[in-house]
């Protein structure tokens, strides 16, 4: 196919290829490279299955009609458990479902902190991480489940 390309066509395509790369800010590419830190972390990546900002199910409709209209709720689901999050009064409340104790790591670009998760599967993060963060839950039998990056 390329055999049929004239010199001008080829130069135009080369110019477009270079332009496409020049358009990308270096921080954007660096973000991609940094993701490799999560390689071999041996944690199941839970999927975002509910976001009160986007979902229109009965729960969200009920919430939007109440005083807590501005509440943000997120659910991340993996094959083994779910991590439910709710923003309330400057803290982030969480619930592991099914309820179980364990340890929760909060990862930000600045580093990681650890919080306990009680036997009812409840945890609280205060203050709410200001930038993007990611949660990794370690069950008592040593399995890990992590969320994607969260920006509230």
């Amino acid at each position: 196919m390329l055999d049929g390309w004239g010199d001008e066509q080829l130069l135009t395509a080369l110019g477009e290829a270079m332009k496409a790369r020049r358009a990308v800010p270096s921080w954007f590419t660096e973000t991609g490279k940094n993701a490799y830190a999560w390689h071999n972390i041996d944690a199941e990546l839970a999927q975002l299955t509910y976001d009160s900002r986007t979902d229109t199910d009965a729960m969200a409709v009920a919430r939007s009609g109440s005083e807590t209209a501005s509440i943000r709720a997120l659910t991340f689901t993996s094959a083994h458990l779910s991590i439910e999050l709710e923003v309330a009064d400057g803290s982030l409340l969480g619930q592991i479902v099914p309820p179980q104790s364990g340890t929760l790591e909060t990862h930000t670009k600045a580093g990681a902190t650890t919080s306990p998760v009680d036997e009812a599967g409840f945890f609280a993060l205060e203050p709410i991480p200001p930038g993007p963060f990611l949660l990794r839950f370690r069950t008592t039998d040593g399995a890990y489940v992590m969320t994607g990056w969260i920006t509230l």
Binding site: L2, D7, L14, A17, F28, G32, L45, D51, T54, P132
Partner: protein, 216 residues
């Protein structure tokens, strides 16, 4: 496929080096991962710009797209499967994932909408994704071919494709070659790019028939 197989120079495979990148990244090679990111970040960026995201949302999308690819590394299809090139598969996966993540942040910024009120233009368009993937693969192969050019060609082609393009007089002055030899040298350098591109898999990329499925 039969035609390609009979023409070894235009074999229907990825850039052989690029085809091994995911496996090498899965095995722990950060350099291979960085190459994957360099290769496809322009496509991810280009898809994001069509959604006009804020920097905050752009970062959110980039973090989540690449995090999901890191998780996928151990589950990639075998490079030798007849279902098409791994590069094409990877680019397609990244395009679909980027689009999904962009839709997620756009929808979250807008807030919940009543059911059935999804505005037009926010649904992934398979045809558009197909085009993005083809262009991304072509651009990646062309950049790889450019990088392989000998020192006698690189600055010349660089000036010829600069935006705006340099005049022959400016090229002559900058590179110290007579104006009348620029044309022949340009032709030789472009021939080198054609050769590299064929070897780097561009033959297959460029030869994709509209609407054709490489796995068919």
């Amino acid at each position: 496929m039969g035609l390609r197989a009979s023409r070894p120079g235009l074999a229907g495979h990825d850039d052989p080096a690029a085809a091994t990148l995911p496996a090498r990244a899965a095995a722990g090679d950060q350099g291979a991962w960085d190459e994957i990111v360099e290769r496809y970040a322009p496509m991810v960026w280009s898809i994001c710009t069509s959604f006009r995201l804020s920097d905050r949302d752009l970062e959110d999308v980039a973090q989540n797209v690449w995090l999901q690819l890191v998780e996928q590394l151990g589950k990639l299809p075998e490079p030798a499967t007849p279902s098409g090139s791994l590069g094409r598969w990877l680019a397609g996966w990244l395009a679909a994932t980027t689009r999904r993540e962009c839709l997620r942040v756009v929808t979250a910024a807008r807030g919940p909408q009543p059911p059935g009120m999804e505005p037009p233009g926010t649904q992934p368009d398979d045809a558009v994704i197909g085009e993005e993937v083809i262009v991304a693969e072509r651009n990646a192969a062309l950049r790889a071919a450019l990088a392989e050019l000998p020192p006698s060609c690189q600055p010349l082609i660089g000036m010829l494709v600069s935006d705006p393009p340099s005049s022959y007089t400016a090229i002559s002055t900058a590179l110290g070659i007579p104006v009348e030899s620029i044309g022949p040298r340009r032709a030789r350098c472009l021939e080198r790019i054609r050769e590299s591109s064929a070897r780097l898999g561009l033959a297959e990329v460029g030869g994709n028939r509209p609407g054709g499925d490489p796995g068919a």
